[in-house]
């Protein structure tokens, strides 16, 4: 990455540009790998790109960034993902 020598509103790519958005979550997706049929629907529909696709098309959830919308659970045809309320975080 090269920084351009000019003062204007030029921004550079960063994962977590808004920080670890996983902290926004109220409900947490829980994946049951045994039920997963590797259809990849959760992967393609995740608005955040927080469902990672492995080489064997199994998936895993990146809780650092998952905002907990629940699209993955809603779109899973075999109910391999359920949403659970986050435990109250220590203040």
């Amino acid at each position: 990455m090269k920084k351009y020598p000019v003062e204007t509103s030029l921004s550079y790519p960063k994962k977590g540009a808004m920080g670890k958005t996983g902290s926004w979550r109220v409900f947490k997706p829980i994946l049951d790998k045994k039920k997963c049929v590797k259809c990849l629907r959760c992967w393609i529909f995740c608005p955040e790109g927080s469902i990672h696709r492995e080489k064997d098309d199994s998936v895993s959830i990146d809780y650092d960034f998952c905002k907990g919308c629940g699209v993955c659970a809603n779109e899973c045809n075999v109910k391999a993902i359920i949403m659970e309320r986050e435990e109250a975080k220590k203040k």
Partner: protein, 384 residues
């Protein structure tokens, strides 16, 4: 070198094409049309090898220039009056993006009612957009200033867009000779365009996303610094062009017979050219009066104005009016002198709506100023 006997618009087009912008995007408006038509002719003859985008509005013309410039290409456009006003939002955009777009604006009256003659309210109302603004007084100056504009806009210490203004019809449609240097002279003077930043798949960036107050404040400050750099670099660039081409029309101002003058007239554009004849006549009659024709109003030549104010009383003619205030030059000249000089400054509004201003009119205004020493701005030629 060749001599081109042609209109201001066609000479501006010649200069633009010789600067070899990769992209021109423009929309026609009277009295700019013959400029873009000339570029279209260069395209048809194969003499202009860049892209000429015929957009569907001036707003899109400036937007396309911004896109092309952001993609790393030298760009040019031209407009006038309502076209410039439609661009207003994108003028800010180009300047804040630090994109060195060069544009000719043909100074024309703003409607309603429709009036295609000259006054400078169109560009004067765009002073705050972050564009460097030149005002020309002859076709030779138009050619030379367009070339200088690219050099200035792209200078690594500036990187701001530049507007070259020429008066409707008096310059845009009047044939005068201009010496056109060889292409090599222009090529050597400008060099290859190296963008300060650009969209690049090898180095992906996002231009113009949300920016907080603290950072935005710094962006504004950097623009102001760049403008102040331009003030220092304009004399250098105009002198470099003088060495390359032989032509010099002044830097921020052009001084005419100011030596020993007790009064100095300040004027812009074609009135600036006409003023030389008036000064000749006034000096013949024994008046100690000179002329400082203002070529650049952004950046504003504050230091030069102060020097003049320390030498003489000043007379200012504005072909524009900031309604509710005063003529722009009158206003800014007085502001420049504040605390620096006690010179008397007399201001005239003249020639709005394209009303003719002859050297005789200028003489009359100057004589009135010499006699009355009135400080309020006066409207010249309202009757009739």
């Amino acid at each position: 070198m060749t001599v081109m006997m042609d209109t201001g618009n066609r000479i501006a087009a010649k200069a633009a094409v010789m600067a070899k912008p990769e992209v021109v995007a423009a929309y026609p408006i009277t009295p700019q049309t013959t400029l873009v038509e000339a570029i279209a002719e260069y395209v048809a003859r194969g003499e202009y090898k860049g892209e000429y985008i015929c957009v569907e509005s001036e707003h899109s013309a400036m937007s396309a220039c911004i896109g092309a410039s952001a993609a790393g290409s030298r760009t040019f456009t031209a407009t006038s009056s309502h076209g410039l006003l439609l661009m207003h939002e994108m003028l800010h955009w180009a300047a804040l993006a630090r994109l060195p777009v060069v544009m000719c604006n043909i100074n024309r009256v703003v409607g309603p009612g429709w009036n295609i003659w000259v006054d400078e309210n169109d560009s004067i109302s765009q002073r705050d957009t972050g564009w460097i603004q030149f005002y020309c007084s002859s076709n030779q100056e138009i050619f030379d200033t367009v070339i200088q504009a690219f050099k200035l806009a792209e200078h690594e210490k500036i990187v701001l867009p530049v507007m070259v203004n020429l008066n409707a019809f008096i310059l845009s449609h009047t044939s005068m000779p201009a010496e056109i240097p060889d292409q090599q002279v222009v090529d050597d003077f400008l060099g290859n365009y190296v963008p300060k930043w650009k969209l690049d798949i090898e180095n992906p960036t996002t231009f113009g996303n949300i920016i907080g107050p603290a950072h935005y404040y710094k962006v504004r400050r950097a623009m102001q610094d760049a403008m102040l750099n331009a003030k220092k670099l304009i004399p250098q660039i105009t002198n470099d062009w003088k060495k390359a081409s032989g032509f010099f029309h002044g830097d921020l101002l052009e001084y005419y017979k100011c030596e020993g003058a007790e009064h100095i007239l300040l004027s812009i554009g074609a009135i600036g050219a006409e003023s030389k004849t008036a000064i000749d006549e006034l000096q013949k009659a024994g008046h100690r009066i000179g002329l400082a024709r203002v070529r650049v109003i952004r950046p504003f030549p504050t230091e030069d104005i102060i020097k003049l104010g320390k030498q003489a009383d000043l007379i200012v003619i504005d072909r524009n009016i900031s309604i509710g205030s005063e003529g722009a030059l009158f206003n800014e000249v007085k502001a420049a002198l504040y605390g620096e000089s006690d010179a008397k400054v007399t201001g005239f509004i003249a020639g709005l709506g394209g009303k003719d201003v002859t050297y005789k009119d200028i003489e009359t205004m100057c004589l009135k100023a010499l006699k009355d020493k009135v400080r309020e701005q006066q409207w010249y030629g309202l009757e009739g």
